[in-house]
């Protein structure tokens, strides 16, 4: 099985779906041993030292992008690359079509949902707000018995 492998450098965080990828090397070869497409281990023959700067690869024939987990030098010019599929980058277009219940979001949110996102210091702020009016004057109240009339 003939394969084209792009040896690349990924500058984005692992959490990023749409990663910024830089091609370092494009290799063409044949797959001679069995390997997983989720966790492929591939032997490549190259003297290009750019391969050691790589942390990412793409195998279009597999339709997948991969993180390089490890690079072993088997002998001079023969390198074993262990990789693991980057599901976010590989399936980003299909994932984006999916609808979901969003628990937390950077740009669309409701700050009245109490999920413990906001923490607070243990010394609270105390303020007082005075009402505009109150009791201003004092006077006497005298209650007298009787009709108030002289008989």
């Amino acid at each position: 099985m003939s394969l084209t492998i792009k040896i690349q450098r990924n500058k984005s965080d692992k959490d990023v779906c749409n990663k910024v990828i830089e091609d370092l090397l494009v290799l063409t070869g044949a797959l001679r041993e069995e390997t997983s497409i989720v966790n492929p281990v591939i032997l490549i023959e190259t003297n290009d030292t750019n391969v050691f700067k790589a942390n990412y690869l793409t195998i279009d024939d597999f339709g997948r992008h991969y993180y390089i987990k490890n690079i072993d030098i088997v002998r001079t010019g023969l390198i074993r690359i262990s990789a693991h599929v980057d599901v976010l980058m590989t399936y980003k277009d299909q994932i984006k079509q999916c609808q979901c219940i969003v628990a937390k979001q950077e740009n669309k949110y409701n700050l009245y949902l109490d999920d413990g996102t906001f923490r607070y210091y243990n010394n609270p702020q105390v303020v007082t707000k005075e009402f505009p009016e109150g009791f201003h004057t004092f006077g006497y109240s005298l209650v007298m018995a009787g009709p108030g009339l002289i008989v």
């Binding site: 965080d13 959490d15 990023v16 779906c17 749409n18 497409i37 989720v38 599901v87 590989t90 399936y91 299909q94 994932i95 984006k96 079509q97 999916c98 609808q99 979901c100 219940i101 969003v102 628990a103 937390k104 979001q105 950077e106 740009n107 669309k108 949110y109 409701n110 700050l111 009245y112 949902l113 996102t117 906001f118 923490r119 607070y120 210091y121 010394n123 609270p124 702020q125 105390v126 303020v127 007082t128 707000k129 005075e130 009402f131 505009p132 109150g134 009791f135 201003h136 004057t137 006077g139 006497y140 109240s141 005298l142 209650v143 007298m144 018995a145 009787g146 108030g148 009339l149 002289i150």
Partner: protein, 654 residues
């Protein structure tokens, strides 16, 4: 033709009597809107149907699908207003003519107004005993005329037609109902015969316009599954389209819809979009026709729902468990509980006389009693003149409307002029405060923020922060000047709420002892108050050994969740009535104890903020954590699917 009993989602049952079909006349009269089917209608067969769909599908391409002739000239952003209007007119005339000529006899009803063309027709279904009414929008009526910022350019767009068939609508409607929504506008895009996407505009009961009075917030938009675009429109009479951001009509993935981008530099003159619905259940048809304007103006969500099959009898005579809930009436109206009127005074019943003497008048009365009472007058008193004095109080109120009258003791009218009043009950309005949110998030509410109120002659009382935050708080006292008894009303106004939520009683009179016996009673009353937990320190004339009430309760008493939990609740005052109250602060005030928020810079970038909304991931950007997702149509292996779900729940950057 119509054989089913239909239950609407709002519980309304449509009986057969709601539909009548006679002599090929179909009348749907349940909702007050009658649709009459002419006598000469025949059921449309599939070839005619396809022909019609084909025709309607290509009307936006300016080419007559049957003659391949150009329908109207090219219109672009440089076209004049006149050219635009002319092109629009030509287009609509063309559609009119074609519909009437080519599909004569098949069209049930043809609606035409300024911008909207709709046709109704029958289509045969697999069930020969039924037929469905389908509503087709000929031009998906987005006939848009706009001017750019310089006012020099206009153009028109005709967007593709839309067939409206909502197979999943009941479920969507239930979602709308769950969200307490008032009405909706929906269209569905048809894609090669398969309905793919639904869009809805949903307005909740309490929707409000933006500050411009025209537009509504995008928060009110509900996106049905599979659709990601916003559609902004207001509902005022001008049908003026709001300008918020550049927006797109159409969907990125659509191969049918013509995409129109409109920038913010244009001033729309009008734009209309069509909306209505028709349903077709599995194996059955539900005729339902409704004019959208009825829906809007009725402001009543009335829709079709699942067909009720009442022929099934449960095996369990006791009845199997069933579904329920969600059928609240969403009535969030609130009756106004206002501050009551003052009660009538009994000051004029001639049994007692109410005076509000000044200091000088009081001195004159005193001098009269102790020196000016002659023997003749004394005889007319019958008894001790002090028995005529019911009470003398010092109160925080002066009646400016009192009138001068001769002071009367028993049966003796003296020469002393004293202010006399008939107003036994008076109102003291302390005004109102608006308590605004400080953080603008949940920390402004319980259990994080605490609000107390100090009320003169009553003390410090705790208010429910959830009730008073963001509200106008009004304080009014009603005072009985003869006894000093007072009631304080705290009225809360927020949203629909405009009611008295708190009532406190107190006493604001300082009793002035007239005899030694009175003085003993006064001291006894004060001591009793203090023993009940009053916190005021002893006052002049009181024994210094009187023990004040406990200011801080024991730990077991006071720990609660207020102020973040575990904070001691300190009693800030005891009973502040009478003598104590007179020496206290005379204006009410709020004591707000709020947490000090601790937010690291760019927190939302790293942890995001709570959302709990249903969205398509493609419509989001930035850090996102998923609560629940169905990874439909993701062609990954099982292990990969698990990893995708796990990563989405941990948070990804879109």
């Amino acid at each position: 033709m119509v054989t089913d009993r239909i239950q609407l989602l709002n519980g309304t049952i449509l009986e057969l009597s709601d539909y009548t079909i006679q002599n090929n006349n179909l009348t749907v009269n349940k909702f007050g809107k009658r649709l009459l089917v002419p006598d000469n209608i025949v059921e449309i067969d599939s070839s005619i149907y396809n022909d019609l769909i084909s025709f309607l599908s290509t009307t936006n391409q300016r080419i007559n699908p049957f003659t391949q002739e150009e329908i109207y000239p090219e219109i672009n952003s440089n076209s004049s207003i006149e050219d635009t209007a002319q092109a629009g007119e030509q287009y609509l005339n063309y559609v009119d003519k074609t519909i009437k000529e080519r599909f004569k006899g098949y069209v049930v009803s043809y609606y035409l107004n300024e911008n909207t063309r709709m046709i109704y027709f029958f289509q045969k279904t697999s069930n020969a005993s039924s037929a469905s009414i389908r509503i087709i929008f000929i031009s998906n009526l987005f006939f848009l005329t706009y001017r750019n910022s310089s006012g020099s350019s206009t153009s028109s767009y005709f967007i593709k037609l839309t067939e409206v068939t909502l197979s999943s609508k009941p479920k969507i409607l239930q979602s709308i109902l769950d969200r307490k929504c008032l009405l909706y506008i929906g269209t569905v895009r048809e894609n090669y015969g398969n309905i793919e996407q639904v869009r809805f505009l949903v307005l909740p009961h309490d929707f409000k316009y933006n500050s411009d009075g025209k537009t509504i917030s995008s928060d009110y938009y509900y996106q049905a599954p599979g659709f990601l675009q916003y559609f902004h429109c207001d509902l005022d009479g001008n049908r003026k389209m709001p300008l918020e951001n550049n927006w797109w009509w159409g969907d990125e993935e659509s191969t049918h819809a013509q995409r129109v981008q409109v920038s913010n530099d244009r001033n729309y003159t009008y734009g209309v979009f069509p909306f209505t619905c028709v349903a077709r259940a599995d194996g059955k048809t539900i005729p339902y026709v409704r004019d959208i304007w009825d829906i809007i103006y009725a402001k009543n969500l009335i829709e079709f729902g699942d067909i009720v099959d009442d022929t099934k009898i449960p095996d369990n005579p006791g009845g199997a468990s069933g579904t329920g809930g969600g059928d609240g009436d969403f009535d969030d109206s609130s009756d106004v509980i206002d501050i009551p009127y003052l009660p009538p005074s009994y000051a004029s019943n001639n049994m007692v006389n109410f005076y509000v003497p000044t200091q000088i008048q009081l001195s004159a009365i005193s001098r009269y009693l102790w020196s000016a009472l002659d023997v003749e007058s004394f005889k007319r008193l019958i008894t001790d003149p002090m028995n005529a004095f019911i009470s003398l109080n010092y109160i925080p109120y002066r009646d400016n409307n009192a009138t001068l009258a001769k002071f009367v003791v028993g049966n003796i009218e003296t020469d002393i002029d004293v202010y006399k009043t008939s107003a036994q009950f008076v109102e003291i309005d302390c005004g109102e405060l608006n308590l605004k949110e400080f953080w603008g998030n949940y920390l402004d509410y319980s259990p994080y923020t605490k609000v107390e109120i100090y009320l003169p002659y009553i003390g410090v009382k705790q208010l429910d922060v959830d009730e008073v935050m963001g509200a106008n708080i009004k304080v009014v006292y009603h005072l009985d000047i003869t006894t000093g008894a007072c009631v304080c009303f705290v009225k809360i106004s927020k949203g629909n709420l405009n009611s008295v939520l708190y009532n406190y009683e107190g006493n604001c009179s300082v009793n002035i002892p007239l005899t030694s016996n009175d003085f003993r009673n006064t001291i006894s009353a004060i001591a009793s108050l203090i023993a009940d937990g009053g916190m005021m320190v002893s006052t002049a004339g009181m024994p210094s050994t009187v023990r004040i009430g406990s200011a801080i309760k024991t730990l077991s008493d006071v720990y609660d969740t207020v102020s973040g939990g575990g904070k001691p609740l300190v009693q800030k005052s005891g009973t502040l009535t009478a003598n104590h109250g007179a020496m206290g602060i005379q204006k009410p005030y709020l004591i707000v104890t709020r947490p000090r928020q601790c937010v690291p810079a760019q927190q939302k970038k790293y942890t995001a903020y709570p959302a709990f909304i249903t969205e398509r991931l493609g419509s989001l950007s930035g850090f996102t954590k998923v609560d629940s997702i169905h990874l439909d149509n993701v062609t990954a292996t099982d292990i990969e699917l698990e990893e995708i779900e796990e990563l989405l729940k941990e948070g990804v950057i879109l």
